[in-house]
């Protein structure tokens, strides 16, 4: 995965698959909890799935400040570019 756009698209697919959210609702500004109803338990499942996809270790702390889809894309981007 490289480039924020590709990360966004892959993340969107994951959100649709895991939480059955309508893809049209997933925008960069969408708030994970308020708009997409992704709660704290869902976040754990999401991080597990992202670990699987990226092959990277993801610590829950790295996602602590993630509130919107954009925050998640940025966090993933930082993660991917750190070791690469």
């Amino acid at each position: 995965m490289n480039g924020s756009q590709e990360i966004f698209e892959r993340l969107r697919d994951v959100l649709v698959e895991l939480f059955e959210i309508d893809a049209q609702r997933i925008t960069l500004d969408a708030h994970l909890y308020n708009d997409l109803e992704i709660d704290s338990i869902d976040t754990i499942d999401l991080i597990l799935k992202l670990k699987e996809l990226t092959g990277r270790k993801i610590q829950p702390e790295q996602f602590r400040h993630v509130r919107t889809v954009r925050d998640a894309v940025n966090a993933l981007h930082d993660l991917m570019t750190k070791i690469a």
């Binding site: 698959e17 895991l18 939480f19 059955e20 709660d39 704290s40 338990i41 869902d42 754990i44 499942d45 999401l46 799935k49």
Partner: protein, 283 residues
Amino acid sequence: MHDTAQPVDDRTNARRWAGHFDRPWRIAATGFAFACFGVGAVLLGFTIWPVLRLAARDAQAGLARVRCSMNIAMRLFVWLMHSLGLLTYEVHGRDRLARRGQLIVANHPTLIDVVFLVALLPEVECVVKQALWRNPFLRWPVAWAGYISNADGPELVAACARALAAGKSLLLFPEGTRGELCQARPMKRGAAQVALAAGVDLRPVTITCEPLTLRKGTPWYRVPRSRPHWVLSVGELIAVRRWLDSGEPRPASVRHLTLALTQYFERSAELQGAAMRGRRIST
């Protein structure tokens, strides 16, 4: 031709007088019952419960004793409300609650749903909303009984799974707070999360109250025109195997099970309410 006005006999008069006093009596008695509950919660919180917890051989035994005492207290309180003429009630399928280690879920139309359920379930562990730990009266029972807070999602699921694994019965209101079920406001996902994480079937209890009272936002003195009647029906187990075996991602299963649970309660509450109203009309 005789006079069309009916002669009024003594029994009709007596009924009219009783009717006049019924509501004022129930308002006063409701206030008294609330006061008893509040005073009782604080008194027990400073006397019996600390003794039960501290004198027990270990933490689990202490918690069991406190919860047992709550079961007795709630049975007394239900008796009090009934004796004061505040309410009537009926319970169906009580024997289905006998087995330990069940995950019991109920809808939550009124304030005293939990009173009935704790009265029916000795040693039950309850999931309660975080706000109760700040309530000046309820903080004592929830703390001494070691109830589980709903503040942190993952911690809630873990604590519930531990309780169920230890063979304790667990009571959880999927709605999280009082309300009437409707499609626009489905149940929260906590119950489904716990059921699937622990691999435990759900035991549903459908609660209806006619006329509906003690709703969210209703002041305590707004008693209904007629004496309310509670019906609690313990339903058959809702098996979670098909969601566990579905092969879909856990979060998706949680959402589907929550929807199924919401629909179950909507249907059963509707049927139960209609049956109650039908009986009232015919009597």
